[in-house]
Symmetry: C2
Subunit: 151 residues, 2 copies
DNA sequence: TTTCATATTGATAATGATTTTCATTATCAA
DNA sequence: TTGATAATGAAAATCATTATCAATATGAAA
C-alpha cells in the first residue's frame, strides 16, 4: 500500500491514500520548481483527467497542515507549493525571486551564518516582544540574468 | 500648493495633486499600523464620502511605483501599505507577524547585524547567481502575547 | 469478499481582493 | 477662462481560492 515516505506519513496520520493525493505528491516529487495550484492541476489532468481543481487545493491545504508541503507567498496573487524533504532539493534553503518573470532560485549558500543570526535574533525578539516565533522567511527580490537584459 | 514633502514629490514627478491622493497620504502619515486598501477606504470615507475604493487602489499602486509607500504581503490574501519615511516610524525595520490576529510589530533592534549580514549575503548571491537584488524581506511569523494565551 | 460508515471527491456556486472599463469630472498650463 | 488630458467613481470583470452538496471511493469490520 505504501508507495513512498510521504504516503506512509499520510497513512500514519490516519488519512486515506487517495488518487488525487498520490498524484499531487508525485508531481511535487519530480520538480525542482515552485508550482502553483493551477500548475499542479494541469499536470495532474495529464495523469488522470477526472481530477478536480478543488481536490488539488484541498490536498495542498492538508499537506501544508501536516508539514508535507510548504506553501510560499512570493508576492504574486497566487501561492506556490514545494515538497518538504524533496530529494531533488537542498534540505533547507532561502529564495531569490525575480520580480519580472517570477522565477524562484533556491539557495543554500551562506546559510550557516544566516540561520545562526536568524536564530539569535529570534531569541532576542521573542524575549523583548514576548512573541512566540514559529518560522521566518528571507526573500531577496530582484532581477534574474535574463530579465536584467530585457528590462 | 505643496502641502508636504510627499505632495511635493508627487508634483515633481509630474503627477497631479488630487483630493484622493492627499487623503491617502494624510491617512498613512497618521498611523503606525499597516493598513489594507479597505482600511484606508473606510478612513477616507469619513473625510470625504464621495471617494471611491477604486481610487484608493489606484493611488496606492501609483505611490508604490514611485516609492512613496511600500506594499507588504504578510501572508493574508490582502495587501497592506506603509508610508516610506513616515516620521512616526523607524527608518528601516523588519517585521514580526502574528499568524493568528495578523498584528504586525515593527522592530529595528539588532538591525545592524542583520542588515550587515543581508548586505554581505546579497553581494555573494548577486555574483554567484548573476542576480540583481533590489530589496529583501525578513519576516518572523508566530504568535503575539495575546494570541499565545488564546491559542 | 461483501458491507458499511464516512472520508473524500468533483462540479458548481460563492467569495473577496484587486483590476478594468468607460463616461464624467477635476486639474493645471496657456 | 479655456481646453487638453489626467484622474475619478460606479459598475462590471478577473482571478485565486473556498464553501456547498450530492455522489463516490476507501479501508475496517463482518
Amino acid at each position: 500500500m505504501k508507495d513512498s515516505f510521504w504516503q506512509e506519513h499520510l497513512c500514519y496520520l490516519g488519512f486515506r491514500l487517495t488518487v488525487p493525493r498520490k498524484i499531487v505528491i508525485n508531481i511535487l516529487k519530480e520538480t525542482e520548481k515552485h508550482l502553483s495550484a493551477e500548475d499542479i492541476y494541469v499536470k495532474a489532468l495529464k495523469i488522470n483527467p477526472s481530477i478536480g481543481l478543488t481536490s488539488i487545493y484541498r490536498t495542498l491545504l492538508l499537506f501544508t497542515k501536516i508539514n508535507v508541503v510548504q506553501k510560499h507567498d512570493f508576492g504574486e496573487k497566487k501561492a506556490r507549493y514545494e515538497l518538504i524533504n524533496n530529494p531533488l532539493k537542498k534540505e533547507h534553503h532561502h529564495h531569490l525571486i525575480c520580480t519580472r518573470c517570477k522565477t524562484v532560485i533556491d539557495y543554500a549558500d551562506f546559510m550557516k551564518e544566516e540561520v545562526e543570526l536568524m536564530t539569535k535574533t529570534e531569541n532576542k525578539l521573542s524575549k523583548k516582544y514576548h512573541f512566540k516565533i514559529i518560522y521566518h522567511t528571507v526573500h531577496f527580490y530582484g532581477l534574474c540574468v535574463k530579465c536584467q537584459k530585457l528590462a
